[in-house]
């Protein structure tokens, strides 16, 4: 990096004049941060322009200063807790005492500097803090101590709380998992009980529908109560339905398909109740149809079929 060349490129002047792009601005700031020579040159340029500007003054209207300062609020000085810094600034204030308007806090600060007079001047301090060899108003100390203590306590309790909260959340999550596990187990048991009683019932005819070419792995059992003609389905294996599709059960009666209703989208691990079957049904089949079912089966989308 040739610093001299960079300085002579004129970029610094443009920077000081404020005519550089934001990108160049960042670049100059970065360069001046790295190279003291560049920073010095920048400061020299700024300083020269500043002095040039100060040679060209137009006094603003005299009333302006008063109007302006009336809108400004310097109260924050009294609230500054950094008393030490305030004291270090004291010499300037004292020296200029007669010429400048006194700040409201002035006397307090002086009281702090001269402890001998402190009791007379600053009664607040003595009353609040009896006996101690003290310079600062005690309320300030208490306030600072109290606020630090409060902040610490607050931080600690917030930390604790967040820990407790986290643990709670964890427990809740674990509970939810346990509960859902339990539900699964319970449902499974109910389902198996139901199945067992269904299979044992002598009036029930079980029709096994096996997978066709489309889905050889599929297998569904239809449990047909020959007394009531109620039909229940036990889906042992069927692929999940694509969006907008639903399985539909059919029976074949007199060589024609008869609608037996659509399968619930949640068809696994439960017994599905379908429509009543015609006693003359010779076969059961399931096709994939649009959601809600179709009036007649789509033969290409037949998944399983079983003869009675």
């Amino acid at each position: 990096m040739n610093i001299q060349a960079y300085i002579e490129s004129g970029i610094l002047e443009e920077y000081v004049l404020g005519t550089v792009s934001p990108q160049e601005k960042q670049e100059v700031e970065c360069m001046s941060h790295i190279y003291p020579e560049i920073k010095e040159e920048l400061m020299r340029t700024e300083s020269a322009l500043e002095q040039y500007a100060l040679k060209h003054q137009t006094p603003p209207p005299a009333f302006l200063k008063e109007t302006l300062f009336a809108q400004m609020n310097f109260d924050e000085v009294t609230e500054e807790p950094e008393s030490t810094e305030a004291i270090s600034a004291e010499p300037t204030l004292v020296q200029s005492d007669d010429n400048i308007k006194k700040l409201p806090v002035d006397s307090d600060f002086r009281a702090e500097v001269q402890p001998g007079q402190a009791r007379e001047v600053n009664t607040d301090a003595t009353i609040a803090d009896s006996g101690a060899t003290v310079i600062y108003p005690s309320w300030a100390k208490f306030a600072v101590a109290a606020s630090i203590l409060f902040a610490a306590l607050f931080g600690w309790s917030a930390l604790q709380m967040s820990g407790v909260k986290k643990q709670n959340e964890q427990y809740a999550a674990e509970m939810a998992v346990l509960k859902s596990d339990m539900d699964v187990v319970k449902k499974d048991a109910e389902y198996k009980d139901a199945l067992a009683s269904l299979y044992r019932n002598p009036h029930h005819k079980v029709v096994r529908m096996a997978g066709l070419e489309k889905s050889p792995q599929s297998i569904v059992a239809a449990i047909w109560d020959t007394k009531t003609n109620d039909v229940l389905l036990d889906v042992q294996n069927l692929p999940a339905t694509p969006a907008g599709k639903q399985y539909q059960l059919w029976t074949i009666v007199d060589g024609k398909p008869v609608d037996m209703g659509v399968l619930d989208q949640e068809f696994s691990h439960k017994v599905l109740k379908m429509k009543q079957a015609n006693p003359g049904a010779v076969a059961f089949a399931i096709t994939l149809e649009k959601t809600g079912g179709s009036p007649s089966p789509t033969m290409e989308d037949m998944f399983v079929m079983g003869k009675v």
Partner: protein
């Protein structure tokens, strides 16, 4: 202009300003309001509007002093930017371009500035004020006081961009030599 007896170095002033000390802001006002007002007037020309902008700028300085970073540049550069932008914004609100005089007018004005100064400054200062050739001074005033980009100056004054850049550079070199610390 009343000047307070308190004297600050730039560092001390910045510390005191950041501490929101009234004396520091009074010092700042006494010290810089004339220069800032001059700059605002150059863009707005209407003294009443200019006074409003000076007041707004100063309040902005007071409110935002915490964000001033001495690492990035001198205090005056910062406050000048605030005042200059305030003036440009005000000119824009009034729906017109910042005032641009033709060169003759400009030179006459500069001479007026100069003659004003002559009454108050020592003979040593005269040379400083006069040191910039008028055609360079205009460029500095436009770029520095009024925030014109080099391109805008080139367009406005019908001077090639390269010439604008080199004149500004030369002018700044001269200023630096004159004000060399």
């Amino acid at each position: 202009m009343a000047t307070s007896k308190v004297k600050y170095s730039e560092e001390e002033l910045v510390v005191a300003l950041k501490r929101n000390e009234r004396t520091a802001f009074e010092f700042l006002y006494d010290h810089y309001s004339g220069a800032l007002f001059n700059i605002i007037c150059k863009t707005l020309r209407d003294e009443e509007r200019a006074a409003d902008v000076l007041q707004e700028s100063f309040l902005k300085i007071w409110k935002n002093i915490a964000s001033y970073n001495p690492e990035k540049g001198r205090l005056f550069t910062w406050i000048l930017n605030i005042a200059r932008n305030g003036a440009i914004d005000a000119a824009r609100v009034e729906g017109r371009k910042p005032i641009m005089d033709d060169i003759d007018d400009r030179v006459a004005l500069n001479e007026r500035d100069t003659s004003e100064e002559l009454n108050t400054v020592s003979s040593d200062m005269k040379s400083i004020v006069n040191m910039l050739r008028p055609e360079r001074k205009i460029l500095i005033d436009m770029a520095y006081f009024q925030g014109y980009t080099h391109e805008e100056i080139s367009e406005e004054l019908k001077i090639p961009l390269g010439t604008v850049k080199s004149r500004i550079r030369t002018a700044l070199q001269e200023l630096k030599q004159y004000f060399a610390v």
